[in-house]
Amino acid sequence: NAGVTQTPKFRILKIGQSMTLQCTQDMNHNYMYWYRQDPGMGLKLIYYSVGAGITDKGEVPNGYNVSRSTTEDFPLRLELAAPSQTSVYFCASRPGTGGGKETQYFGPGTRLLVL
């Protein structure tokens, strides 16, 4: 298993541009999450999904959108990039509930710079 993969690794955007951050997991996990991490800080939840077709907002959803059409993929969309969205974005997934299934496994991250 490749685990959680994210693309691209790094991207520079101009203010107002849009892009999609890709996240794929091959572990058949139901739950998927998007976090952002600002320099020297902990991660903050943007959006999450409990299964295909179901998404919900996290702590900092403004400026982002998500979709979950398949179990494997959970893309994060930035419609109008702003400098405040400069951050490192992490995708995570977990199997379910009980018996250690609560543990979230993280991808390697996408570093985004908005100028």
Binding site: Y33, D38, P39, G42, L43, V50, G109
Partner: protein
């Protein structure tokens, strides 16, 4: 400002010593706690977790202690090695909130050779 967040609390220990990293969590209703290790340029890596019905859990060279009375979590690393140098985050979650993780601000561990 932005520079405040760059100054993570730092714990410097001698190789071979034991390390203790502390964390205060915010929600008394949290029932699941987890420690992650994050190396530079990488995603968080699971270390150990503990449920609220436990006070202590041990793994390989690591122990997590939970004190619900004062909402405090600690991670003990035995015989600290250079490879343990990283930023460590605690996170809390609730079963009735889909186990969404709320992360603490992190502690940087530096291991001196």
């Amino acid at each position: 400002g932005e520079s405040v967040g760059l100054h993570l609390p730092t714990l410097s220990v001698q190789e071979g010593d034991n390390s203790i990293i502390n964390c205060a969590y915010s929600n008394s209703a949290s029932d699941y706690f987890i420690w992650y290790k994050q190396e530079s340029g990488k995603g968080p890596q699971f270390i150990i977790d503990i449920r609220s019905n436990m006070d202590k859990r041990q793994g390989q060279r690591v122990t997590v202690l939970l004190n619900k009375t004062v909402k405090h979590l600690s991670l003990q690393i035995a015989a600290t090695q250079p490879g343990d140098s990283a930023v460590y985050f605690c996170a809390e979650a609730r079963r009735d909130s889909s186990y969404k993780l709320i992360f603490g601000s992190g502690t940087r561990l530096l291991v001196r050779p």
